[in-house]
């Protein structure tokens, strides 16, 4: 809401010492945040002066044009000195011919800059030096008129006068954020009331103090829907709609961000901005039969003022006549009854429409307007007649004619009252506000209150539709008391918990992988079917169960992600394009798996929903697990003075997964599987306690190509919720034996297809309790292992709560080997 200060002061007598900055602070303090203070005024800078045309010489040109060489008196200080050829003046070439010698004109002298950055300089043209420019209205940004030079009224100024001061008055404009509850402040009237309260002066409500005379005999109006509470229609006969709007009105509209269009439109806008009551003007001659306010019928159409044909919804509230719909109530009028230059009689509408209805209609038709914005938030239901009367007065003052009849149907909503204990105010605000102060503050806001002991009965004025609950009244009092009066108190819960384990564990995981060398990113969680295709995800893979958005930000990203990988791939591409090629990236976030079309019920909010209702909501929501994923490309370790580079490979993404698991105290196991988007021979399935939690490995070359990733890029993706559910709280610690370690190494030849991890597990199982640790220290394939075979060498370390004999360790080793031999046909290598 833009509020020109002059307009505000016109509506309330503020103390002279209250300057604009103070007023802005006062309004901000009561919840009307002043975001900017603009200064209106001249769009022209530099010398712009009044000139008197002394002489005009017409000079036809070869190109068919006729130019006029003028000598213009621009005042003593600015004129060139007189010569034999001409008196003291300036020479200016001009193409227009709508002025004569002796006219007062506006002259932009060299150094002036006109709207649009048009800089004036002396220049040689048509054989003369043109030392400035005689201006037309549009060149000064004053209007659209380029029909000719702007000629000032004779005697209205003297040559050399500053034309900027003459043409523009300077005003300050408050740009105010009006919250939905304070809808009455979408008007100068409402803001003036707030300014009056803040300054402790009385507010003389122009729209309440002088109620208009009753009217009758106007255009018939029938209300056929309860969504229209009241309708005022004033008939104005004998008006000239082409008459100019008063310049003060045009200027205030412009300062408020509204363009001047025509007298009827300007007046309805002006009164709406001033009072908060939207108005609409119909050409009375074009109305066919009574105005009926009703809901649309199936199949009805309306061409609105913007020239759009609109198919109406049966939920749309309409203004109709015998011809059918003539307007979308409270949103926009129709074309057939629009006021035109030929109009002589106007029917002026000032009505009250139900907020929710207007809200749905303007959204449905994407027609936000100043009118619908006000109706949606609630318009003072007692305002119609007085606002229409004021508009009619302004119309007839400028355009002639008079109000000949009027119709008033419906009635203002009955005032609502709210009861509350006065103690509630202090207990909610947390500062003492006694009953006397409460009453004083409410009275200042013109809110009637009656008192019975501790019980207050507050009657909401017609413009205060927001006062419904006791807490609304508390807020009203609070914002006038001022929130800085409230003290500081730090509440302490009686029952404390510490950091929730799940959040502590998630934090541990993120910190561990970051410490390990991975950089966290947060990407946008949208994806496309194409991305899933490019990942090579096929068949009934659950990552194809995409949740589609009804109104995506971009049609190319219309789904919610089921995997974090495409987002990371995008980030890889961006980094690579910026020459950052050695990457170890990760993201933690939710992915979404469509669970079908179940509707999430919307139970009553009058009480707590039943367990069944809550369960039905949960079941309708898709599964959306927290997921952790990482990608590596380029070098894990760059070449440096320490030696050659170490390329990033699958081991680093596996290490990422193990690091994550270990940070919550669990071990991860792996086995080879085939799964998109990984290389079929280089993908590990990751499990914790036998539960599959994710996958890691080198990406499929096809995927690397499809996402333009660096070759051999590797990735890992883990269901973090599943991993964290396995988190071990603390684990177990036994006694630490100080007896000597017995070392036994063993090399086994097995088929290539046998997993090293399985062989290790077999050895560990066979070795029994004496085994302290086991580690694979060599893998050999080649002639000595045999075709299709590999040799795996393990270091077994035994320890007990006594010194083991050589025999005991050797025996344990033999048992270990036997299990591996039995299970995999392993052959012990000599």
């Amino acid at each position: 809401m833009k509020a020109p200060i002059s307009w505000l002061r016109d509506n309330v007598a503020l103390p002279p010492e209250t300057n604009t900055a103070m007023l802005a602070e006062q309004l901000t303090k009561v919840g009307l945040t002043v975001e900017h203070i603009e200064t209106t005024g001249s769009p022209v800078t530099g010398p712009l002066v009044v000139g008197r045309v002394l002489s005009i010489v017409s000079e036809p040109q070869k190109n068919g044009k006729t130019i006029r060489y003028c000598r213009v008196d621009v005042g003593k200080a600015l004129n060139d000195t007189a010569t034999g050829d001409h008196p003291a003046s300036r020479g200016i070439v001009c193409g227009a011919d709508n002025f004569v010698e002796g006219d007062l004109v506006v002259v932009a002298l060299p150094g002036a800059v006109l709207p649009g950055g048009f800089a004036i300089a002396a220049r040689k043209t048509y054989g003369h030096i043109s030392d400035g420019m005689i201006c037309a209205e549009d060149e000064l940004g004053l209007g659209d008129d380029h029909s000719g030079i702007m000629v000032l009224a004779a005697g209205s100024a003297e040559p050399g006068d500053n034309a900027i001061d003459l043409l523009w008055s300077s005003d300050e404009v408050l740009d105010i954020e009006v919250t939905p509850d304070l809808s009455y402040c979408l008007s100068i009237r409402g803001l003036a009331r707030e300014a009056a309260i803040a300054n402790g002066v009385t507010f003389d409500d122009r729209y309440r103090a002088h109620l208009p005379e009753p009217v009758d005999g106007g255009h018939p109006v029938v209300l056929e829907s309860e969504r229209c509470q009241a309708f005022v229609a004033l008939t104005i006969d004998g008006i000239d709609p082409t008459a100019a709007s008063p310049s003060w009105m045009v200027e205030r509209l412009r300062a408020s961000g509204v363009r001047s269009i025509s007298l009827p439109v300007d007046v309805t806008n002006y009164v709406m901005l001033e009072s908060g009551q939207p108005l609409h003007a119909y050409d009375a001659a074009k109305l066919q039969g009574p105005i009926r306010v009703r809901l649309a019928q199936p199949g009805e159409k309306l061409r609105t003022l913007d020239g759009q044909d609109r198919a109406l919804d049966v939920d749309d509230l309409l203004i109709t006549d015998d011809s059918g719909p003539i307007g979308l109530a409270g949103v926009m009028g129709g074309e057939t009854t629009e006021v035109s230059d030929d109009t002589t009689s106007i029917v002026l509408e000032a009505a009250s429409f139900a907020a929710a209805s207007v809200s749905r209609t303007f959204r449905r038709h994407s027609l936000p307007s100043e009118a619908s914005k006000r109706f949606e938030r609630g318009v003072d239901t007692q305002l119609g007649h007085v606002a229409a009367t004021r508009a009619a007065k302004l119309l007839t003052e400028a355009g002639g004619g008079k109000v000949t009849a009027g119709t008033i149907v419906g009635a203002a909503t009955a005032p609502r009252s709210v009861k509350l204990r006065s103690g509630l105010v202090s207990s909610v605000l947390g500062t003492r506000v006694d009953q006397e102060e409460i009453i004083r503050l409410l009275n200042a806001a013109a809110i009637p209150v009656t008192v019975l002991g501790d019980l207050l009965t507050v009657t909401a004025p017609s413009w205060r539709g927001d006062l419904v609950d006791p807490y609304d009244v508390v807020e009203e009092i609070g914002r006038h008391v001022g929130y800085d009066r409230i003290g500081l108190r730090l509440p302490v819960p009686a029952d404390t918990h510490g950091l929730d384990p799940r959040i502590r564990d998630r934090r541990a995981v993120l910190r561990a992988v970051a410490a390990f060398g991975f950089t966290e990113l947060l990407t946008l969680p949208f994806t496309s079917e194409d991305e899933i295709e490019r990942l090579g995800i096929e068949g009934d893979d659950h990552r194809r169960q995409l949740v589609r958005l009804a109104n995506p930000l971009a049609e190319t990203q219309a789904y919610l992600r089921t995997t974090l990988l495409p987002g990371l791939f995008d980030a890889v591409a961006r980094n690579v394009s910026r020459s950052l090629t050695d990457l170890a990236l990760f993201e933690q976030g939710r992915v979404f798996f469509d669970g079908g079309p179940a509707v999430a019920p919307r139970p009553s909010v009058a009480h707590r929903p039943s367990p069944e209702e809550l369960q039905a909501i949960e079941e309708a929501l898709p599964e959306q697990p927290n997921t952790l994923a990482a990608v590596v490309t380029g070098n894990w370790r760059p070449a440096g003075w320490w030696g050659a580079a170490e390329a990033a490979d699958w081991t680093h993404v596996v290490a990422f997964a193990e690091c994550a698991a270990e940070s919550v105290g669990v071990a991860m196991t792996r086995r080879n599987v085939e799964r998109a988007p990984w290389h079929p021979g280089r993908c590990a399935e990751l499990s914790v306690n036998g539960l599959v939690v994710g996958h890691a490995g080198e990406l499929h070359p096809g995927v690397v190509g499809a996402f333009r990733l660096p070759e051999h890029a590797c990735a890992v993706e883990i269901n973090l919720d599943l991993l964290l559910a396995q988190s071990s709280r603390g684990g177990q610690i036994g006694s630490l034996s100080a007896f000597p370690l017995a070392k036994e190494d063993v090399a086994l030849i097995v088929d290539d297809s046998v997993a090293a991890a399985d062989v290790q597990a077999a050895l560990a199982e066979g070795a029994g309790d004496l085994l302290e640790s086991i580690a694979l220290f060599d893998v050999y394939t080649g002639d000595q292992a045999g075709d299709g075979k590999k040799s795996l060498a393990f270091a077994l370390r035994f320890r007990a709560d006594r010194t083991l004999t050589d025999g005991e360790a050797a025996e344990a080793r033999q048992r270990a080997v036997k299990v591996a031999v039995d299970r995999f046909g392993a052959v012990q290598r000599a």
Binding site: S427, R489, D495, L549
Partner: protein
């Protein structure tokens, strides 16, 4: 007891002659002093004090002396050997120290060489800030709650007192799952987590809910369609706006040092009364206001930074969650995490938060590598 040995050969015991021994000692001491390295000293020791050294050989002859001479010879040889051992030890220490000094000098490395500990990772600044804020509240005994991001319309709007045609729904342009009639949407705020917390945990309740929120908003330097909020909710007996002010002021001081906060009346459907909270500028402390010589980039010389929204929980919200507003009252607040990172770090462009350039997350540790 054996009789005296008369059969000694005076020729053979010349080695035990005092002059002879002195000459051995003189030679040996000269050699020890001359040994340039500990390695050569070792050879000197073998030569002059080893098993085949003249003194050792002389020592063997003592047995051949007449008993009356043995004592004298033994003493003489013993003293000589003692002198040598002492001299060798002293020289050894001297040489070893010199050699160590030389070695330490030779072993010097340039300790400013870069070290390699693999790639440097970093958490996203948003994650770090959320963690920091969590710690402030957990220290006061609050809980942290999480909830679905694809949320029900009931949790995101209805229960928060946003009626179906409520104008505030328009303020938060919502991303809906298809079809919208199924009542599922990407949460526009973290407030539905507060509803869940009340329903699941009951009251009294002190909880924060940090997380991602979604709006059908612009994507530019100052707007993201996906960003992060941290909201807090207290429901207990006797809670007022003073508790809210105290909590926000405490949070501000924990995060930004000696700054204050202020509240301006505002409107939110889920709180009544509602307010916006401003943070006193933690850089200029308001000194840039009206002081063009000392402009402040952080608060744009306004002295205050818009931080978030807050208010007393609307009793209708408590009712929808089965909490009796006659017994309990509460407050709620929320702020944008990304925006807080922005004004705290000076990060100029919100798009950098989600575009994944590694330099963004690593900025905090001083660059890309």
């Amino acid at each position: 007891m054996s009789g005296p040995n008369d059969n000694f050969d005076p020729k053979q015991v010349a080695a035990l002659d005092a002059a002879q021994i002195d000459s051995f000692v003189t030679d040996a001491l000269a050699a020890i002093a001359a040994a340039p390295t500990t390695a050569e000293l070792k050879q000197v020791r073998l030569n002059h004090a080893g098993d085949a050294s003249p003194l050792a050989l002389a020592n063997r002859e003592i047995g051949a002396l007449p008993p009356q001479a043995r004592k004298e010879a033994g003493r003489r040889v013993g003293q000589a050997r003692g002198r040598l051992t002492q001299a060798i030890a002293a020289r050894q220490a001297e040489l070893a120290e010199a050699e160590l000094s030389a070695a330490l000098i030779a072993q010097r490395v340039d300790m400013t060489l870069p070290v390699d500990r693999g790639p440097r990772g970093a958490l996203h600044p948003v994650t770090n800030l959320i963690d920091e804020m969590i710690d402030v509240f957990v220290a006061m005994g609050w809980q942290v709650a999480d909830g679905p991001q694809l949320e029900s319309e009931w949790h995101n709007f209805d229960a928060l007192n946003l009626a179906p045609d409520h104008p505030a729904r328009a303020l938060q342009d919502t991303l809906w799952a298809d079809p919208p009639s199924a009542g599922k949407l990407l949460r526009t705020q973290t407030s539905p987590v507060q509803i869940r917390a009340m329903l699941e945990r009951g009251v009294p309740l002190y909880v924060i809910s940090p997380g991602k929120v979604f709006r059908a908003d612009e994507y530019d330097a100052t707007h993201l369609p996906v960003f992060h909020q941290l909201e807090g909710l207290v429901v207990d007996k006797g809670i007022s706006m003073a508790d809210l002010r105290g909590t926000l002021d405490h949070l501000a001081k924990e995060m930004f040092g000696d700054v204050s906060t202020r509240m301006r009346p505002h409107y939110f459907p889920f709180t009544e009364p509602s307010a916006e909270v401003d943070l006193q500028c933690f850089v200029c402390h308001g000194e840039s206001v009206g002081n063009p010589d000392r402009p402040c980039r952080t608060c744009r010389s306004e002295g205050w930074i818009e931080w978030g929204g807050c208010g007393v929980v609307n009793p209708r919200v408590l009712t929808a969650c089965g909490v009796d507003p006659e017994v309990y009252s509460g407050f709620a607040f929320g702020m944008g995490v990304d925006r807080t990172v922005m004004f705290r770090t000076g990060a100029p462009d919100l798009r950098d938060f989600v575009e994944g350039d590694i330099r963004f997350s690593r900025s905090i540790i001083g660059g890309a590598r």
